[in-house]
Amino acid sequence: MPTVKFENGKAAIIEDAFACVEDDQPIPTEGAVCVSLERFKTDKEAILARNGDIGVRLVPDDDALELTDVIDRLSLVEVTFPKYTDGRAFSQAQLLRRRLQFKGEVRAIGQVLRDQMDQMARCGIDGFVFEPTSGEAPDVVENAIADFAYAYQRTSGAQTPIFARRHVASKNI
């Protein structure tokens, strides 16, 4: 499945540099890896000591705040939508971006659907792993995110909320 990165208003397919290491597999000595939160906690010292970018994969039951003290060492956090109706990853993404000020990639995996990509982006998700039902994957992402010109909330996306646009001159914004 393609991984699409959305940056500065543009979407592009990227090479996924992270080797996804299952919990029962050894961690390779070199290169970027992505592990589950469980695995990360178990082998934390070893993982932090190795050479190579680190990614952590969250499932909805995970507490994103467990990454607080290592957040600056991570390049990628994957958040999972086991089913599109399970919206916990939206809150996890917001916590990563806004509470922990995570600057790396937040990538959506699982059931990643066109009609939720705008919500995902606004919660700070900038990577999308999905198979398009029609058209090219980057176009799907760009079109989905272009559905709405404005937003009412101050969330993780780059958008200025409507109430702030209305009062550009206010000091309080």
Partner: protein
């Protein structure tokens, strides 16, 4: 009344275009029903027994005459000439073709209306006191905060896929007409010790199969902080609400399972952890801008009494009777708030024809500062009518079949669509409602205030748990039965009614309620003691005996 600016307008237009695309993808087969369902549900489109149903948002129940006229047009052009006003202060059309829905939404967008978040597991349309801005009981007008909450919750990306739907109600009066204690969040505007206006936050009320009265988690929070508290509550719910069982997914179950104390601690911790940058920080200019839309209209200085009104009452007995039930005190002398009953006999409670909607629109335009409200009892309010002009208003209403004089009486009942429309129903509710109305219409004035609520199944769309008398349709081996509860109420003394015993067959319901009513007339202290008060004074036993006297 709030008016859209370019941003609000653009949001709604973008939503219509997005939904049009989704419908096209559904009709072309790119989306199957499974994937389309959550999309249409976020836009108020339900699949019912006979057709798609479209639910249109009426934010905090307020409509202009132009909007009401558009609803009348939609009913005529795309439905069967009527619409159904709901307990959520919204309107539903029951017979709309899917292919027409994007066009309907476009027509609605022309008058600043939409179907956004009227269904699905998101924050639904916020509701409030139907007399907001008109009653002397409120400490201030709650509608600016309803509008602020509407904007904050519209397409909130974090809370678009909650464990379950989420309903917020606001009141600024001690008399609770918005049923805030049976909502996921109830906000009660009140003073703190220093005399500032803020919010009491009540969480975890709800009906459905596990009816619960909400708990106060914050006694008072400042207006400046209210959106941040809402964000904290929503996040705790989104992350920890149950998703394994849709019947245990409402926030009331989370609050109960954690206990209100632990839930409150989690919310406090989330609120405390918010960094400055995470706060909503709504500028005061924005609060002022929105509040300006709800400034009192240009009321005239009038005497408290009106000779024309007194004279009309003396000359027209029907009018005099109607004024006894359908008026509520207004904060300004010489004005009154009129409740138009949508419960005449032999009409599904809450239904209005397109012609009636137009009459209501005309009256609102001519006599009520262009302002209409939908109530959660499924009636329509004309909030600001001059006593001098009341008789004209009454005549116009009566002429349109809108003169029913039964507000808050037994025949002013709440009723869900039931088996006649709804595929989740166990039993019919509309025919039962009509039978009861017909029986009580003979003496419901003697009975005084009595709330009867009817649901066709345990989902409780008809609020049966909080009816003074509640009626619930149940299915026993393929046969329709009706379970009766006593003692429920939705006001500031909110309480879930108690089940009295075995269910009754349809034909037994009305005679049994008639015996209950007779018992009440027999044992009440005097005609000022309401049914619910007699019940609370003496307990359910005498009424229960009457209920089952025949079996």
């Amino acid at each position: 009344m709030y008016r859209y600016d370019e941003f609000d307008e653009q949001m709604v237009r973008d939503r219509v275009a997005q939904f049009r695309g989704q419908v096209e993808r559904r009709l072309s087969g790119e989306l199957d029903e499974d994937h389309f369902k959550p999309l249409r549900l976020q836009n108020g489109v339900y699949l019912q027994m006979h057709a798609y149903m479209l639910r249109i948002a009426i934010p905090y129940g307020q409509l202009s005459s132009k909007q009401m006229r558009t609803l009348a047009d939609v009913g005529e052009k795309y439905d069967k000439g009527y619409g159904h006003f709901t307990t959520r202060q919204n309107i539903q059309f029951n017979w709309i073709a899917l292919k027409d829905i994007p066009t309907v939404l476009e027509e609605l967008a022309n008058v600043e209306m939409h179907a956004i978040q009227t269904s699905g597991n998101c924050i639904r349309n916020v509701t409030t006191d139907q007399f907001a801005g008109a009653t002397a009981e409120e400490i201030e007008d709650p509608r600016p905060w309803c509008e602020i909450i509407r904007q904050w919750s519209t397409f909130h990306p974090e809370f678009a896929h909650l464990p379950r739907k989420f309903k917020i109600a606001v009141t600024a009066a001690e008399t609770d007409r918005a049923a805030i204690r049976v909502h996921d969040i109830g906000l009660h505007m009140k003073h703190n010790a220093a005399g500032e206006v803020g919010f009491e936050i009540i969480v975890g009320g709800g009906l459905g199969r596990t009816p619960i009265v909400g708990t106060t988690v914050k006694d008072w929070v400042a207006k400046d902080d209210i959106l941040d508290w809402l964000e904290a509550i929503m996040r705790v719910y989104n992350l920890h609400g149950r998703r394994d069982n849709k019947y245990k997914a409402r926030i009331k179950i989370l609050v109960t399972e954690l206990t209100p104390e632990v839930f409150t601690k989690q919310v406090d911790a989330e609120f405390e952890a918010q960094r400055d940058e995470e706060k909503v920080r709504l500028p005061q200019e924005e609060v002022d801008r929105i509040s300006d839309y709800f400034k009192a209209p240009a009321f005239e200085t009038l005497p408290a009494t009106s000779a024309a009104y007194e004279e009309a009452k003396a000359n027209d007995e029907g009018f005099a009777k109607w004024t006894e039930t359908n008026l509520s005190a207004h904060k300004v002398d010489g004005y009154t708030s009129v409740t138009v009953s949508l419960k005449p006999l032999n009409v599904a409670p809450g239904d209005a024809t397109s012609a009636q909607m137009r009459v209501l629109a005309d009256i609102a335009k001519a006599y009520s500062f262009d302002d209409l409200r939908v109530t959660h009892i499924q009636n329509i309010v004309l909030p600001h009518i001059k006593l001098d002009e009341l008789y004209n208003v009454y005549l116009a209403l009566d002429d349109a079949g809108l003169g029913a004089d039964n507000v808050d009486l037994a025949s002013d009942l709440i009723c869900c669509p039931g088996l006649d429309y709804c595929n989740l129903a166990n039993a019919r509710s509309i025919p039962v409602a009509m039978e009861i109305q017909n029986m009580f219409s003979k003496y419901d004035r003697d009975l005084g205030k009595l709330h009867i609520n009817i649901s066709g199944c345990i989902n409780a769309c008809g609020h049966h748990h909080v009816g003074n008398i509640g009626i619930l349709g149940v299915d026993k081996k393929g046969e329709e039965f009706y379970q009766i509860t006593f003692g429920g109420r939705a006001d500031e003394k909110a309480r879930i009614g108690d089940i009295q015993g075995p269910g009754l067959r349809q034909e037994e319901v009305t005679p049994a309620l008639e015996r209950v009513a007779q018992k009440y007339l027999e044992i009440r202290q005097n005609s000022d003691e309401k049914f619910i008060s007699t019940l609370e004074r003496l307990g359910a036993e005498p009424f229960k005996e009457a209920l089952y006297a025949d079996s």
